[in-house]
Amino acid sequence: MSKYSEKNIKAYGNNFTTMTPGPVAKFLRTCVIYQFIRFIVINLKMLVVVKKSH
């Protein structure tokens, strides 16, 4: 029986060679504390890109 993160992989199908997120990666995507930190980081990165573009 395949693990949750691998359940959609089909042998030698289109998605056979890609990566899928494990439970930690999926948890972090919706972890409010971690995402708040990422929100700050991403915003700062985006502001740098915006500044470099003007």
């Binding site: 993160s5 289109n14 998605n15 890609t18 995507r29 991403i42 915006v50 573009s53």
Partner: protein
């Protein structure tokens, strides 16, 4: 008193007009000619297309905003440009035809000192048989290109969800409707919003969802893909995109030119020359873009459209249109000032300027059908271009005709984009990405063509929050509310 005429009131034209009006003040005139009564924050049409937002939340009336800004607003479409004037005057002018209900069909010649063409695209549904009627509300497919289209898409989606609740399995086909489409990002965002909404509705197991696109690899996005740093690797957007598709059980067909759309099916040709047919119950296929079809005439009435516009209907600017084969392409081919080389008081920005060549590597099937994304010029770059062009023109009006032009090459600017999947604050996931520069510069950044310190992407709730903020900030900014100039394009 100088008069600046801006054709188009979308992201680029609206940005250009509003900044020009602010910088020029009341001693000069800014005129906006746009066939639409409302401004539309197009990125949020995706949420309208799945029923998470109403049309009213992504649009507002232009008339009151332009009245407040001191901009002369003509609800009309441009028909032709006479850059040398006409028989009675040397003053250049544009011929416009009103779309305002009370004046529908009236024509007028509007003289200008400077002209910005920011018309955006014609949604060329006709390029693919069966893709849509002239309004874009296809018989067989839906679209999210305008707020009205997105409302229609949402209604059709609801019907499908109801069918699935009644036990009827449904097949969704989302992507691009022609081999030369752009805006893959919008379709990408829409497919994952649909997947998310089906999950929320409890009918995901009744749906087969498939992507069809002209990209040669998933994650090309019309910019030849990108590399972002993750876990110590420079990871291709192909891995990033394929991972999303695999995780959400969405299958894909890539390198596809959709050649015909019929009720419940599309015919397509692939890059390897094979052909196929794909069935669907619900399909959203982005149409290809073309110029809006403005003609140009010389002083003696000769048709000079081919001189002013490229064959695809977009206006020629300071790009290198003779780069030729892919091997010769340089970042410096891309325009920086958006000034027409022949008529120096004409500028173009946003989708309206003719790009020198695609950003993605050009490809075609063995039968010669070109299948590659055309370059995106929407969103953040189009706003920056609009502001830059307005800056150049205002300088020339206020400081003299020799004032240097401002620059904003897509090969020197970055872009931030957020693709949501869902709209909730605590559910769903969104991909937040930046890309720098938009057009890869392989001389400056050998290999990936981009600076991987400023090109990144990640998935999570933070992207959702940013998308919400962007929606409200840009709706606020476009309505010229207090402090609007502090919000970057």
């Amino acid at each position: 008193m100088a008069r600046l005429v801006v054709l188009g009131g979308g992201v680029s034209g609206h940005t250009a007009a509003t900044f020009a009006a602010k910088w020029l003040g009341s001693s000069h005139e800014v005129v906006v000619v746009t066939p639409n009564a409302k401004w539309n924050w197009i990125p949020s049409n995706i949420w309208v297309g799945v029923g998470l937002m109403s049309k009213e939340e992504v649009t507002f009336d232009l008339a009151s905003v332009y009245a407040k800004a001191g901009i002369t607003y003509k609800q009309a479409k441009a028909v032709s440009i006479n850059p040398e004037g006409g028989s009675s005057s040397d003053k250049p002018f544009v011929s416009i035809e009103y779309t305002l209900e009370s004046r529908e069909g009236d024509v007028e010649d509007v003289e200008y000192d400077y002209l910005i063409n920011a018309t955006g695209p014609k949604l060329n549904f006709a390029a693919t048989p069966g893709l849509g009627d002239e309004n874009g509300l296809g018989e067989h497919t839906v679209s999210v290109c305008t707020a009205d289209h997105a409302v229609h898409a949402s209604q059709e989606l609801k019907k499908c969800i109801q069918k699935m609740k009644n036990g009827e399995r449904q097949k969704f086909l989302i992507g691009t409707g022609h081999g030369l489409c752009t805006c893959q990002g919008a379709a990408f965002e829409y497919i994952f919003n649909i997947e998310h909404e089906l999950k929320k509705a409890g009918v995901r197991d009744m749906a087969d969802i498939k992507w069809i696109s002209n990209e040669s690899f998933l994650g090309d996005f019309g910019v030849g893909g990108l590399h972002m740093k993750a876990m110590g690797f420079a990871v291709s957007s192909r891995i990033f995109a394929e991972s999303l598709f695999a995780e959400r059980d969405v299958d894909w067909i890539i390198g596809a030119h959709v050649s015909k759309v019929e009720a419940g099916s599309v015919d397509y040709e692939l890059l390897d020359g094979s052909v196929g047919k794909e069935s669907f119950d619900f399909s959203m296929l982005i149409p290809p873009f073309a110029g809006v079809g403005i003609k140009a005439y010389s002083k003696d009435g000769e048709d000079i459209t081919a001189e002013l516009f490229a064959p695809n209907g977009f206006i020629k600017v300071d790009a290198n249109y003779s780069a030729g084969a892919y091997e010769n392409w340089k970042a410096s081919d891309w325009p920086a000032t958006y000034q027409n080389p022949t008529y120096t008081n004409i500028f173009a920005c946003g989708i309206a300027f003719a790009p020198p060549h695609p950003i993605s590597k050009p490809m075609s099937s063995p039968s010669g059908t070109p299948i590659n994304p055309t370059p995106p010029r929407t969103g953040m770059p189009s706003g920056i271009m609009g502001k830059t062009v307005a800056h150049s023109i205002c300088d020339r009006i206020l400081k003299g005709e020799d004032a240097p032009l401002h620059r904003a090459s897509m090969a020197e600017m970055g872009a931030a984009c957020v693709a949501s999947a869902g709209k909730g604050i605590f559910d769903g996931t969104a991909a937040a990405m930046t890309i720098y520069p938009v057009v890869p510069d392989f001389d400056k950044y050998p290999g990936t063509g981009r600076d991987t310190d400023y090109t990144f992407g990640e998935i999570g709730l933070a992207g959702h929050w940013i998308k919400h903020i962007l929606h409200h900030l840009f709706m606020y900014k476009a309505q010229l509310k207090p402090g609007w100039t502090l919000i970057p394009e």
